[in-house]
Amino acid sequence: MRTFTVLGRHRNLLAYAVVIGIVISVAQGRESIYDVGVSILVFGLMGIPLALMYGHGGIISLCQASFAALGGYATSILTVSHGWSAWEALAPSILVPGVIAYLISRPILRLPELSLALTTIALAQLWYGLVALGGDRTGGHVGLYGMPALPFGDEQLGGFLGIAVLVAAAIWAFENYVRSARGRALNAIRIDPILARSVGADVARERALVFGVAAGVAGLAGWYFSLYVGFLSPDSLSFTQSFAVLFMVVIGGRRSSIGPLIGSTVYILAGDLLPGGVAQGVVFGAMLVAVLLLLPDGLASLGGIVRRVRRRPPGSGSAAPRDPAPAKRERAHA
């Protein structure tokens, strides 16, 4: 019974583990698959906390890649200029963006959705400018290189497993959170702030904390990314990537822990298959409109829809799932 509920809660994690297993077995002798897989997972690691923050908390952000860049630059500067090891740079890469996001969240999260979206774009531009004009410290427009390798062994498989485990942890934590009292409060805040406050939720604090955590996890993605590529420039993790992450979350499913991964898979694979930027723009644009109109909770919600349709007994119409409550009520109170 207990194992069953734990599995039920973590079925997305299980499905993810199966897919990772399949990828590893397919990639024997075709190591380039790992490169594609890493791209998908790095975007996924930025997207999963964004799904929590946007899909559950209603907080939109177009600077998720900038927070990853903050983590990446913290890692790069500490390792290249100060001789820290990759592991030593891990905590700062999470804490720097996390704390900065938490501090700026109090004023900006009061804004309505559109203003918030614009503000996060402005923050991304500000950060881009600071890095580009940072001179030797940040490497300016050219960027920084010479970081140590990822601490996951020399094989490509090691690097892939490293990010795969980080993403697994993110899925696990996401599923735990949305089933906790804190997760319910976060959802209540999105749906109805007045209701949330009248059940005791501190709206500003809950939102600020989630914003901070999302930035911290993005920083972790930045840590991995900068060490994996061994190079970081202002354009590596810029506004374009922030927009892509939001796109993936919406396409894949903003309420689901694996929605962002579905989205990043679609994005990366379609990007590899489609010829030029124009074709990509058309396809991605059409996809976005189609999903927003037909599947507001993204591709990940297809599974749930199929399950609901199948559970409905044939010919009983839409009222079928209603339980036989009336009969029970009469018995209890006749």
Binding site: A173, N176, A181, S198, G200, A201, V213, R329, H333
Partner: protein, 251 residues
């Protein structure tokens, strides 16, 4: 004792509340009746901090809480329902009730992400209590979606969520609207039990008969003013009330 003294609220030119005094003590049920636009919901909004009054004070056990934000009042034990049911139609009945535990949860953020043993234990306890409330209010399948519930059951659900918060004072805005006698029976039985546990209740309700039979005290509001205040016996004989309400033959 939760009390509002000299509360005045104006929206533009409309005097929604024009110097109103109301109080509710532990264990008593205060009925609040009055025509549409009388200011009943506005009074609840003042008591809970959703609206800040232009004049007057709100006190809880002698403490002035007039300027406290809503969530802080919730944490010292003021729970409420809303006139229009506010639970998320896409969440399950059980989850909607469990939202009410927000006020008493001890889960820290890290614990919630890691699903720590403490969080798991608390969630188990919340779940059990929510299921008991589903049973109390006879809401049927706890995994049904809120949106699938008929409107009166959604109102019972709102009351259940408020009870989950262990409030010392419950403010219920027309919880019985649209209910059949069966649901009304459940509701009045539960409210009586809750009051017997020492919880004070303010109940907005249009059905005079229901209010007079259930409440220990009744306040009649009209156009932002208190028209009558007293025990059900007193109200039943109040000449103005007899003329305006009871004379017309309420159900």
């Amino acid at each position: 004792m939760l009390s509002a003294r000299g509360i005045a609220v104006a929206f533009g030119g409309v005097k929604a509340l024009d110097v109103v005094d109301v109080e509710v003590g532990p264990g008593s049920i205060v009925g609040m009746v009055g025509p549409n636009g009388a200011g009943k919901s506005t009074l609840f909004n003042c008591l809970t901090g959703v609206v800040s009054p232009d004049a007057g004070t709100v006190e809880l056990d002698g403490k002035d809480i007039t300027r406290w934000p809503t969530e802080r009042r919730a944490r010292v034990g003021i729970g409420r329902t809303f006139q229009t049911a506010r639970a998320d139609p896409n969440s399950t009945v059980c989850d909607a009730i469990m939202t009410g535990f927000t006020v008493s949860t001890r889960q820290c953020m890290l614990g919630a992400f890691l699903s720590s043993p403490g969080v798991r234990a608390e969630e188990k306890q919340f779940k059990a209590r929510a299921l008991a409330l589903v049973d109390t209010f006879d809401l049927g399948n706890p995994d049904a979606l809120v949106g699938e519930l008929p409107a009166p059951h959604r109102r019972l659900l709102e009351v259940a969520r408020t009870l989950a918060g262990d409030a010392k004072y419950l403010l219920l805005d027309e919880p019985a609207a649209g209910m059949d006698s069966l649901d009304r029976q459940i509701l009045s039985k539960v409210l009586r039990q809750v009051a017997d546990r020492g919880i004070g209740i303010v109940l907005v309700e249009h059905n005079f008969g229901f209010v007079l039979s259930l409440c220990d005290e009744v306040t009649v509001l009209a156009s932002g003013k208190v028209v009558a205040q007293g025990t059900p016996e007193h109200i039943r004989e109040h000449p103005e009330i007899v003329r305006v309400y009871l004379g017309q033959g309420t159900p």
